[in-house]
Symmetry: none
């Protein structure tokens, strides 16, 4: 589509793993060293990469700038922050905030566990559509047609023995999630971690994000995890209210 651009973006991805010299980048890429160099010079001109004293390239300040601006643009995040912090305080476990970015579910915020055993994740990563609790919550709110279309097109990667592997099973699970108002990932993504997630709605009533609580199984068994659901839903409802949502089940006046 746009070769040089795609190659340059891949270079940025490589540099995310750590600083690298021109030669290192050129050998990892499938293009000539000269080409890599010229792309890097352009990236450098726009401050997307910088060169240190040893002429090693690393990601540049422009990326930080863009990233923080982009995050600010997402106001769900700002609204959710204080509530998620309270939940994190209360439970001590890892809290994630996720939303659709285009067609994948992306983590847009994270609060670290205060436990010594932590789970691995990072803001910006995408969540598996057939396994993550946040994905289930977000999918469950889509109109049936979209839901089915997505269920049919997913790449069903098997993460653990319990991972949902068929469109039918996924759709059934989504019905359950929609009915009960929250979702569980019962070690469907990582063998030793389970999570619960709940929806965040805006004034229109649509689910705009999902918050989740992820806990290593060594710290909490199934029952213990389910005990997190009430504080979690209390938290997501509080965020939803801040976004202008009115709980239809309360004051049905």
């Amino acid at each position: 589509m746009s070769q040089s651009l795609l190659r340059a973006l891949d270079l940025l991805g490589e540099l995310a793993a750590g600083p690298a010299s021109l030669d290192e980048l050129a050998s990892r890429a499938t293009v000539h060293k000269t080409t890599v160099m010229r792309l890097l010079h352009s990236l450098e001109e726009k401050r997307f990469v910088v060169r240190d004293a040893q002429q090693r390239y690393r990601l540049g300040p422009k990326l930080f700038e863009l990233s923080s601006l982009a995050l600010e643009q997402r106001d769900v995040r700002a609204a959710a922050r204080p509530h998620l912090a309270k939940l994190n305080e209360l439970t001590g476990h890892t809290i994630h905030l996720a939303a659709f970015e285009g067609s994948d579910v992306t983590y847009i915020d994270k609060l670290e566990s205060r436990q010594p055993v932590r789970m691995y994740s990072r803001i910006g990563l995408t969540a598996a559509l057939n396994a993550a609790a946040v994905s289930k919550v977000l999918l469950a709110d889509l109109p049936p047609a979209r839901r089915e279309a997505i269920a049919a097109s997913i790449d069903y990667r098997k993460f653990t023995e319990r991972t949902i592997m068929t469109p039918d099973a996924l759709l059934a699970e989504l019905d359950r999630v929609a009915a009960q108002g929250w979702a569980i990932d019962d070690s469907e993504h990582e063998e030793f971690v389970h999570c619960v997630a709940a929806p965040i709605r805006d004034a229109s009533g649509h689910v705009v994000a999902a918050a989740s609580c992820s806990v290593p199984m060594v710290l909490l068994d199934h029952e213990g995890l389910l005990a997190l659901v009430p504080p979690l839903t209390a938290c997501t409802e509080a965020i939803s209210q801040d976004l202008g949502w009115i709980n239809p089940e309360r004051n049905p006046s």
Copy 2:
């Protein structure tokens, strides 16, 4: 220099001001709408931009990802320097700072011993994955799968009689290191030198670097070396705190 790339990077700069439609971007830029569209499609493919339901473009999750990765690797070295200097002052021995650069462990800083007997090493050199204390510390924090993959693929060079020579032995040692929070190299790399190393963590809790203290055996016996562990871990914890890490074992309130 590289026209299409420069134009695409400018588009990202424009989007930093807020979401925009294709036409808006095209009119702000000095190029044809078609061109803008094709650049955006490439950016979208790599998740640097996303399109919402109304086909407005906004900055994408890949930017968050790159930026948070880059922040993690940002100036550990600068943060560590003053603390390492104090440790060097206190002990008088050689201090190393090491981190993953791609797939090998690299020394990223060094403070010389003030003793007449010195060890040879240099910033930028790579540490043996199966022998160096810093490597053990860094490997011990990786997720089990990565750890095992690396253990299986290492070239087990035999440096001394005590060098770890099998994946199983290495993995067992890494478990020990993870549990006790520091690592020892008991003359496994050089016959007459032994070291201790401890992890440096960032705000996310992940180990981003390792600091070590290397001592010729003629200067310090095994017990003497172990006596260096408390000042070493105090040092690495101080650095970790500077990087935003919060000790989960302190104030578990």
